[in-house]
Amino acid sequence: MYNGGKILFGILIFLALVTFPFYNDIGKANVRPEPKINTPEIQKLSEKQCVESQAFMKANHMTLLNEWRDSAVRGGNRTYVASDGKKYTISLQNTCLRCHSNKKEFCDTCHSYAGVNPYCWDCHIAPKGAKK
């Protein structure tokens, strides 16, 4: 065998580099995001309820937002009647983000976990000092 040592060394380096992403992530990634709902506006609610049921919102809030957008901007209808009959004024900034004023601890924790980066905030204004 010629240069056996060098080849083995090379293979070792190769393996180390290829597996880097795996051992680098050990213990890090799988922390489930826990969107916080402890905003002042939600604390005021007698019934801690979103526009639709939690399961529905978790799975479908992006489609709901698309429907809201098209209804308000294209259809001119800015009142949403939820499936429980409650009425909401359609607005991303003034309805969703009024309750979920903690965008960082709410929307963003999930989104960075899922690796999505909605471009809405290029235009829509997120609440300032999104804390409390």
């Binding site: 901007v73 294209r74 259809g75 499936s83 204004i125 609440p127 300032k128």
Partner: protein, 266 residues
Amino acid sequence: MSINRREFLKIVGASAILALGGVAIADGIDKDNLEVSQFLPEPGALVAGKWAMVVDVRKFKTEDDYKRVINACNSIHNIPDFGEPKDEIKWIWTDTFEHAFPDEYEQKYMPASLERMPFVLMCNHCDNPPCVRVCPTKATFKRADGIVMQDEHRCIGCRFCMAACPYGSRSFNWRDPRPFIKKENPDYPTRTKGVVEKCTFCVERLAEGLMPACVEASNGAMIFGDLTDPNSEVRKALSSNYTIRRKAELGTGPNIYYIIGGTDNA
């Protein structure tokens, strides 16, 4: 292994039934929650058969009269000030008689005061809007109430509409507008680099039962209302004053009317 014709048909039949059943179930899942939800207009919204505006030029007397109206729009809609005319974003702005009404300007012997005075200009919300015709994504479209609306979500920034509009009513965001907005209105979105924007007759305010921002700030110099209603303020103003419209000869059917006074009225 081989199967005969009979077995093959059985399998095909069974899988077809399974597939159809699957579709039906998936349909049910999709609809489960939103079946009874619906979209309605806001309760106190202002509605019209066709919105139009009358600008009473006689009532614009001082510099402040123009500024007040333009600032009302700019601050509510987060309009940036780049400090550079070539990048300017304008929903409502002023220009000279010569530029606003080139055909009428051919008459050389008009009052000097008119020649020098600024006119407030904005989107004309045309009956036959050329911008809508050329838009490849339907980002700009005409609503049933006559408003030529701009859906920023669909705008791809091709700027065909800007070439088509004979009034210069559309502005393109060459740069990120955010750093140039003096005081952000947190209730209204900004725009972003690469989209076209313009006056929307304040659809978001009409939906809340409010008059357009410029009209509200104009102290009666701008009148807004329903052109299809003979008793509306705009129809009253139009029936008691002679008015002109910008470049109506182009066939666009502009819906902003100007009451032009002479020196007598000024």
